[in-house]
Symmetry: C2
Subunit: 447 residues, 2 copies
């Protein structure tokens, strides 16, 4: 007996929610293209050894096996095993290496796709979700200015939608590494990983972990926490860091870079980017600016976009491909907003006009009216059956279709009714046009 039930971690939207999601994705894509990012899609699978290169999330992979193979009890060699990608960065790095000879560098691309995490079902976390990524990758050297540009693109992409404002908390790996080195901590990577847990385990927990895993003294741990407390919407964080009295050339380089990111963003989109020296990002491969975006009112839910500068993700022989990227967690964002009933849409179908049907014999005539409206870009359906007009109007009402079109009988003019106001006027199918705001479903924020 087949079970018909939702699968935990695999969210599915109803049509109105999907209309909202598409509106969001269309806006992201349009913004990315305005900035010249080229579209890209990679296959859903990677060889397992590619997926395991990245560290941290390596255990959350779904492996694939052909059913027949499974039935026969075969077991492939590990290097032949395929797994579903768990992010879009690893496949992108592989794609760049594979196609380096056919791409133009610096290469700007966006990629909007599903990713999968082989989480235990009971954890209630998404196991399938949509991400929207932008990256710029160059061959050899990547100019710093892309680290300034990327959060501005993300800011533009998330503006102009009925979403809560997003603040991108920004830090710089060089700043932290230089500071830790400047105060004499031996294992800088371990220190980064410890500070990354600040939200989860609190200052005392981080201090304990800094001492235990990074070999920090109590004073060093205190200095790390003091650094992590600094945040500012302008360059004033430089003075706050200086007040801690640590000197290191890498620290200075990181400070200067972070100033450029924060100042450019203040000019372009005030309030978008905040220097927040607590942001560490657990992943080892970041080497410069790191980003973590939170939605206003949903800060507790954690980041909805994240990324950073990486120098060592892709290399082949002597060719290095440094890059910088930010990923928007679209499903995560919409999951939060749908959960809070924060978004509305004016109807559950694309249809703007329902053409009524006087009787079943008139279907070809009603089809022709629909065709005439569609030729002018007006989404139109014909009534499924020649019920009484009242019932046909209710068909439109239940879906939020704003207009019902009544074919004129025996030479009389057609009429169109706005079923919200009840207004009914004569109309010419070759001329009549709905108001712009009625042509497509309208997405808004719930009052």
């Amino acid at each position: 007996m087949s079970r018909i039930a939702p699968l935990s971690g695999f969210p599915e939207w109803l049509p109105p929610q999907r209309i909202i999601e598409q509106r969001v994705l269309d806006h992201l894509r349009a913004t990315f293209e305005l900035y010249g990012f080229a579209p890209l899609e990679t296959r859903a699978v990677e060889p397992l050894d590619q997926l395991l290169r990245k560290g941290e999330t390596s255990k959350e992979v779904y492996l694939l096996r052909r059913l027949q193979e499974a039935d026969e009890g075969e077991r492939g060699r590990r290097e032949d095993q395929l797994g579903l990608h768990f992010d879009l960065t690893v496949p992108f790095a592989r794609y760049v290496l594979e196609n380096a000879g056919k791409l133009q560098f610096p290469f700007r691309r966006y990629q909007i796709q599903k990713v999968w995490r082989g989480e235990r079902p009971q954890e209630g976390r998404f196991r399938e979700f949509t991400q929207a990524d932008i990256d710029v990758v160059d061959r050899g050297e990547l100019p710093f200015h892309y680290e300034v540009e990327l959060p501005l693109v993300i800011g533009d992409a998330l503006r102009g939608l009925p979403l809560p404002p997003v603040r991108i908390l920004t830090n710089n790996r060089k700043l932290c590494q230089g500071f830790y080195r400047g105060i004499g901590i031996g294992d800088v990577e371990a220190a980064l990983r410890a500070v990354d847990k600040l939200d989860k385990i609190g200052p005392a927990g981080v201090a304990e972990e800094l001492m235990r895993t990074a070999g920090a003294t109590e004073a060093q741990a205190k200095a790390c926490l003091a650094l992590a407390e600094i945040s500012a919407e302008d360059a004033s964080f430089v003075d706050a860091v200086a007040a801690l009295g640590v000197s290191d050339p890498l620290l200075d380089e990181g400070l200067a870079e972070l100033v450029r990111v924060v100042e450019a963003a203040r000019e372009h989109s005030p309030g978008l980017v905040v220097a927040d020296l607590r942001i560490a990002r657990g992943l080892d491969y970041y080497t410069g600016t790191v980003y973590e975006g939170v939605m206003q009112g949903y800060e507790k839910a954690g980041s909805v976009c994240s990324g950073g500068r990486y120098d060592n993700l892709a290399s082949a022989g002597d060719d290095r491909y440094p890059g910088v990227g930010i990923s928007i967690g679209v499903s995560r964002m919409l999951g939060l907003l749908f959960g809070a009933s924060a978004l509305t849409v004016s109807r559950s179908v694309p249809t703007c006009v329902l053409v009524a049907l006087p009787d079943e014999e008139s279907r070809p005539a009603s089809d022709q009216i629909a065709a005439a409206l569609r030729r002018r870009g007006i989404p139109t359906e014909v009534s499924p059956s020649a019920d009484k007009y009242g019932k046909q109007i209710r068909f439109a009402q239940r879906r939020g279709i704003p207009y019902v079109w009544f074919p004129g009988a025996e030479g009389a003019a057609d009429e169109v009714k706005d079923i919200r106001s009840g207004d009914q006027v004569t109309a010419d199918r070759t001329v009549w046009t709905p108001p712009d705001e009625d042509l497509h479903p309208t997405v808004g924020a719930a009052p």
Copy 2:
């Protein structure tokens, strides 16, 4: 050591091909929405028992296993196993049953997603591909007129693109079943499956199989083949069938339905739909009209879209959900056309204008020009570096970017150069607009 190599069966496009694919998908989607189909996406996975309901393709499934589970040697119960969907019909039927209480019927939806087939790699067939499906599903009864409408939607969706014309070969299961019954064949399903192999094994092979699997006599097999030879672009096939002298009420019903499909399509899109009584479609669940579309010039490659009427795919207790759907094999279609270099695109990036950089200090000024152009919907990039202008122009040329914008020095006016013609004119960033055909990449048919 990580392998960097293409995976057979998992096609990936380069950016220019992806731009073409997106243009195709956008046009399909716009057409589907013009006809009032609501957007839908289902999760990529289904419980294995759901996937195995459908028959035929049941062995070509990819099963999922969490890496950790695999490492621990766990083995889930079969009913808990998840597999990747191999089409969009099975997940849609499941979605309809799961959400029946929240959907409005008749429910029209389109769905554009990846599907996966766990084929052996050496067969060289796609193991991941994109499909674009439309279906109309109703509760209880589904009016016949949707079987007339669906091929017209597909015809519109595939017109207006630089693709070869598609012909939709159409038949009706009732017609075949009535005919087979009328001539006294016992196992009608087996007869359908045998005739479905006509392209693969030829008339003699089908005759042999009809006799072997469907219990047909030689005369019955000959009659089946005579029926399969009939095709027409108008209702004339009715006379050709009548000439075979078989009488059956189901045959008559099927003939009448097929006439309606063919005649309506002749009116709407001459040449789009052809009655072809050879089309059987192997899948058991079709019960009325069946469709199989081929691209002109690529007929040998087989069908690029297919579908039909089904009555028994989804039911729960006393509620039945009959439907009709057609699926376009987008990857299959584009794979054929890319393989033949049949499609072109004017550039490999969305960018319409490259803003040049006199020197690195001027980057903020060039960024402001880009922002002004983007505000008016013109896709714009700023030069990655302040190389000599000749090198910056070559950056644009290599990507097919048509315009380079030169910021005016010290109060002088900006200038914009069409790098194809070499024409350079003064320009105001708040007013200048490229010709419509240059705003976005242009997709065309190769000469």
